[in-house]
């Protein structure tokens, strides 16, 4: 396991040095899509994680063809370096990172600290409209070696590492959703039996940047993550667990890590599956 940090994470100085680089596309991904309109990194295009990355009817990704059409329209080419950043400590940017990887984009990176660190450091933002020339993007078949579905989550009990990255109160069943969101979500509260609870926030500093590799290894080691087993990460809807998936697979270099994007809103509504309560 060797760290790939330099290949997958960039800092603000790197961004400012590459603002004019035609092979680098900056993409802002937010839950609150009005954030971008209030100011963004110069040249960055906007991606709406819900309206553009989720199918409008069934609960799933958009199709390979629709993803290719989306990236073509945004002016993103297959050979471009895509640098993602966003609010919520990069939750949705990390989700988009994982999503781009599922559809096979070669060079994707995250801006360490996302929008928050950029703002707190007083880096320049603009409201100038951005237009990029359309491309002809080709997406790959979904890479399901990094995406878990409900049957795999169920089969993982007592077999794989299950990492529940929600807050302790969601893990125990006290809350059904993060405290800034309304609580009507899954039918039941609790967690998948055997899951360890390592809230995503423990992998990040207050300013949203990732902790060091040594700190991260210690964090998951002390929480009981077994290096010899494959891992499935989950949260409520798969965005916070993308953050942890990024840490385990992309920063720490674990081989077989999947993100379960059905997550608790799916598992906690399944009929007849085992649920554990409490810490």
């Amino acid at each position: 396991m060797t760290s790939k940090r330099a290949d997958v994470l960039v800092d603000a100085d790197w961004v400012q040095e590459h603002l004019e680089d035609s092979n680098v596309v900056f993409v802002e991904v937010d839950e609150d899509v009005s954030a971008y309109d209030g100011g963004h990194i110069a040249g960055a295009v906007k991606l709406d994680w819900k309206s553009e990355l989720q199918d409008a009817v069934i609960r799933d990704f958009v199709s390979k063809e629709d993803f290719a059409a989306l990236l073509s329209a945004k002016g993103i080419g297959n050979d471009d370096t895509v640098v993602l950043y966003g609010g919520n400590n990069n939750w949705f940017a990390a989700y988009a990172y994982w999503y781009f990887k599922v559809y096979g984009h070669a060079d994707v990176r995250l801006l360490d600290g996302g929008r928050k660190k950029w703002e707190l450091d007083g880096r320049p933002m603009t409201t100038d409209a951005v237009s990029r020339q359309a491309t002809s993007y080709t997406a790959q078949e979904q890479d399901t070696s990094i995406r878990a579905f409900r049957d795999e989550a169920l089969a993982a009990i007592d077999t794989l590492n299950l990492v529940d990255v929600r807050s302790p109160d969601e893990f125990s069943g006290k809350l059904l959703a993060p405290a800034h969101l309304p609580q009507e979500q899954s039918q039941r509260g609790g967690h998948i039996p055997g899951a360890i609870n390592v809230p995503w926030s423990k992998a990040a500093n207050d300013d949203g940047t990732f902790k060091t590799d040594d700190e991260l290894r210690t964090l998951y080691g002390e929480a009981g993550l077994d290096d010899g087993r494959d891992t499935i990460a989950y949260c409520r809807i798969g965005e916070r667990s993308s953050h942890t998936w990024f840490v385990l697979r992309e920063l720490l270099g674990h081989d077989n890590v999947k993100n379960y994007d059905g997550s608790w809103t799916e598992y906690g509504s399944l009929v007849g599956v085992p649920i554990a309560k409490g810490a």
């Binding site: 609010g87 707190l120 807050s167 302790p168 809350l175 993060p178 405290a179 800034h180 309304p182 926030s201």
Partner: protein, 84 residues
Amino acid sequence: MDLTSETVIQGQVLREGSPVPAAYVRLLDAGGEFTAEVKTSAEGRFRFFAAPGQWTLRALSAGGSAEHGLTADKGLNEAQLELS
């Protein structure tokens, strides 16, 4: 928002009495664990859906920081954070 069943913690971030927009407010549980984070509105306001119990609010902006502890009950709980 159903205040008969939900526990809402909301309030405002101020600096020298004026609202601070775009400040980051974190909600930490009784054990000091991160629970949620939101950004204040143009009027410096924020809102969390929590549960009854002990909580800590922490605000962070380019202009300073603030911390505030509270005990929340079911219904509406108001808090003010003054940056320094």
